[in-house]
């Protein structure tokens, strides 16, 4: 093809990493889930072109991969915001007022569970248990845990994340 742009010579470093992951698991029994997990670690989510690439490499139809991706909570098809908020709603957090924390954060950020703010600052996810039941109710932002919360503490915590 004529008029090739100079970037065609550049190889996307993420692509190299992805191919390494694929080659590592390709010949395992049941390679799909470990490859998807690795790919998500590289890209932060699973873009369509990545799923297509995996499909070709391990000869599993895109439809089947899509079925697996949408089945498991871990996989995401859209990018995350700069800060990922996980609100724990395990049973312990629930009985200690976790629902009020969810409501407060949803009102504060004006987004619902699973969504990302327009400015890409926060993604909100309600999850089933962080395992810090002793600190209930808890949230974690970028894996940093904030425990023993009450609704009035939320604004101050969110302000720390840009």
């Amino acid at each position: 093809m004529g008029g090739a742009c100079c970037c065609e010579n550049l190889v996307d470093p993420k692509q190299i990493e992805l191919d390494e992951i694929i080659n590592k698991h390709k010949y395992d029994n049941g390679p799909l889930i470990p490859i998807l997990q690795g790919a998500q670690e590289v890209y932060g989510y699973l873009p369509a072109h990545v799923i297509k690439h995996i499909s070709k490499a391990i000869r599993i139809p895109v439809a089947r991969i899509y079925g697996v991706v949408t089945f498991y909570a871990q996989f995401r098809l859209t990018p995350v915001g700069r800060n990922l908020i996980n609100i724990c709603l395990g049973t312990a957090c629930h009985v200690r007022g976790g629902a009020k924390i969810v409501e407060t954060i949803e009102k504060e950020l004006k987004i619902k569970d699973g969504a990302t703010t327009e400015d890409g600052r926060f993604t909100l996810e309600v999850i089933a248990c962080i395992g810090a039941c002793g600190l209930a109710p808890v949230i974690s932002i970028n894996n940093e845990v904030h425990g023993r919360l009450s609704p009035d503490k939320i604004a101050g915590i969110l302000a720390k994340y840009e």
């Binding site: 049941g30 998807l36 997990q37 049973t91 009985v95 007022g97 395992g131 810090a132 609704p151």
Partner: protein
């Protein structure tokens, strides 16, 4: 000063969340600064169990427990404890009865009333060091099995111990192994189910984080007894620390010759891999779990054929949960007879419970089967937070049920709990007080099972959604009189007709709350009142203009800024009902009792 002291810092997920990790570094620095590194060592351990008071640290050999330790306390602890041999009183636990500080773990009910078999290494050893494990008789059981016992002997010993599956259903472990052993095949698998998805249960995670070698050793014995040469540990990806520690442990076990080919020169081969689950509660069901390892959507299938006949990739497979595997080395080392002295007639050994909710001592406790709920909640758990009244205990997570106060003297074992309408399940014990609404709890669990239903069978997929919708309506004050009958009918049908245990047990929280707390449902439906003052839609907050001193404290603390007023213009504060999320912060903050709830 005592020779060779050890400082054990809990570095489990709970304490790490409370800030334990920097403390380890500060301790090491401070010990160096004081020139004590010859005689004092610092160990980052797995979960010590006392999550409520975390970060915790224990000074050995005296077994002094320090609670809620912060970085700035470290210098004082070292100075007092290690140099002068005195206690730092303000960091000791205060006994609720005597109101005096207690220092020794032996005097603290939380520890003294437990009996730790599975947890005997958790919080005591460094889980990242195989030599810590072997120093406490680790890998002695597999050595004994390989050198002195035939696979049949090992299987027989586990059968005699009466060990039952700790994952929930309580199926006899030895019997299960026997089925798999009896199936002729060129290849067999064993799997450790570490997909602990039950919200409010974290014992499997703690065992994996705090004593990963015990699970590996248990699996080795199982593989030897069954005749398997390959194994998987299916661990949720949400447990990064457990996965990390497992990876280290497997590598060390391989290097030490406990995993791999020709183990300890016996000719027995066993290879072990960790598979990271991708977040689906249903994968705790064994056929779904195997589908997931095969790279498919984790959906259960009809049994038979049972996994013992046709499991992973069509080969005979045996699946047990973490706690079950971790029991096995103890049984082999000390014998089935020793093991059967703990527990009740039909439930032998101990069980780990994750004690959470409105209880004073949140944490991980291991007690002999047959211990009463009262002992667990009031002796070990030290009763209800804030002096409130106990209302119910939820046992067994989304598959279990809530039991009321008059069942507190029930001895906890598989059969009595199932009879009472709850189940041991994975062992989550969530304590609820008078401010917990039981309808809301049922709604909460159904919301969970509805989301986690894999969608394969109609009763579970549609049924959990319909039940959730009804419960949601009731908590909003829109319930109808006939709802309760509909709920009961639906619940019983779903229980009977669902494909796997997820659907079959999903109605349990409803059935149990309807059985023991029907009046709360009726209050929501008939009087549009939530007796626990929990359901937002049935609450309203108002400020009494007479009592309001216009201090603005409520408005300042309101997370959604729905309270307005002004002292300058003498306008008492009022709440905008449309914006109010009924969190109750204003009521908690008001010093004049001006905020009322109806």
């Amino acid at each position: 000063m005592a020779e060779n002291q050890r400082i054990l810092v809990c570095a489990g997920t709970g304490c790490a969340s409370s800030g334990a990790l920097p403390i380890i570094d500060i301790l090491i620095d401070e010990i160096k600064r004081q020139g004590l590194e010859e005689t004092v060592s610092v160990v980052g351990t797995g979960c010590q169990g006392f999550c409520e008071k975390g970060p915790t640290l224990v000074i050995e050999p005296q077994q002094i427990l320090y609670t809620r330790v912060k970085g700035e306390d470290v210098a004082e602890i070292i100075e007092q404890e290690l140099v002068k041999g005195e206690r730092v009183e303000r960091l000791l636990l205060v006994d609720q009865e005597t109101q005096k500080p207690v220092s020794s773990m032996a005097d603290i009910n939380f520890f003294a009333k437990q009996h730790r078999i599975v947890l005997h290494n958790c919080g005591v050893i460094d889980p990242k060091k195989i030599e810590d494990y072997t120093a406490r008789e680790g890998y002695k059981a597999i050595e004994k099995a390989l050198k002195e016992m035939s696979p049949e002997d090992a299987l027989e010993e586990v059968k005699k111990s009466g060990l039952r599956g700790r994952g929930g259903a309580g199926f006899p472990t030895g019997l299960k192994w026997g089925f798999c052993r009896a199936t002729p095949s060129d290849k067999k698998y064993i799997i450790c189910n570490a997909d602990e998805g039950d919200p409010g249960a974290f014992m499997d995670r703690s065992v994996l984080e705090g004593d990963p070698h015990s699970v590996i050793e248990g699996m080795l014995i199982g593989a030897y007894a069954i005749g398997a040469d390959e194994g998987y540990i299916y661990c949720r990806a949400e447990y990064p620390l457990a996965i990390k520690h497992l990876g280290i442990a497997i590598k060390q076990a391989e290097e030490a010759g406990y995993l791999g080919d020709n183990i300890l020169g016996s000719g027995f081969n066993f290879h072990l891999k960790v598979f990271e689950g991708a977040g689906a509660f249903v994968c705790g069901e064994e056929t779904a779990l195997m589908a997931s390892i095969e790279g498919k959507r984790g959906m259960p299938r009809v049994r038979p054929p049972f996994p013992a006949v046709s499991g992973l990739w069509g080969k005979p497979t045996n699946v047990n949960n973490v706690e079950t595997w971790s029991n096995v080395p103890h049984i082999l080392r000390k014998g089935a007879e020793w093991y059967t002295q703990f527990g009740t007639e039909k439930s032998k050994g101990t069980k780990i419970f994750a004690l959470t909710g409105k209880v004073n001592n949140t944490g991980l406790v291991e007690v002999p089967m047959g211990t009463t709920l009262r002992e667990i909640i009031f002796d070990i758990g030290d009763g209800i937070q804030g002096g409130k009244k106990f209302k119910a205990v939820q046992i067994g997570g989304p598959s279990g049920g809530c039991l009321p106060e008059d069942m507190l003297d029930l001895a906890v074992d598989y059969d009595t709990l199932t009879q009472a309408g709850a189940m041991v399940g994975s062992g989550g014990l969530v304590i609820m007080d008078e401010t917990t609404c039981m309808v809301d709890i049922a709604r909460y669990f159904l919301n969970f099972t509805k989301k986690e239903s894999c969608g394969k069978c109609t009763p579970c997929r549609e049924g959990t959604t319909r039940m959730y919708e009804i419960l949601d309506r009731i908590t909003k004050g829109e319930g109808k009189e006939e709802d309760l009958d509909t709920l009961e009918n639906l619940a019983l049908t779903i229980k009977e007709t669902s494909l796997c245990a997820l659907g079959q047990s999903a109605p349990n929280p409803i059935l149990a709350t309807l059985k023991y707390f029907r009046h709360e449902y009726e209050a929501h439906i008939r009087d549009h009142k939530c007796p626990a003052h929990n359901c937002s839609a049935l609450l309203s907050y108002t400020i009494d203009a007479e009592k309001c001193k216009m201090c603005s404290l409520c408005a300042k603390n309101c997370p959604v800024n729905c309270i307005t007023g002004d002292k300058k213009t003498n306008t008492p504060y009022v709440i905008d009902e449309d914006k109010c999320i009924k969190c109750g912060t204003c009521m908690d903050k008001c010093k004049f009792g001006a905020v009322t709830r109806a």
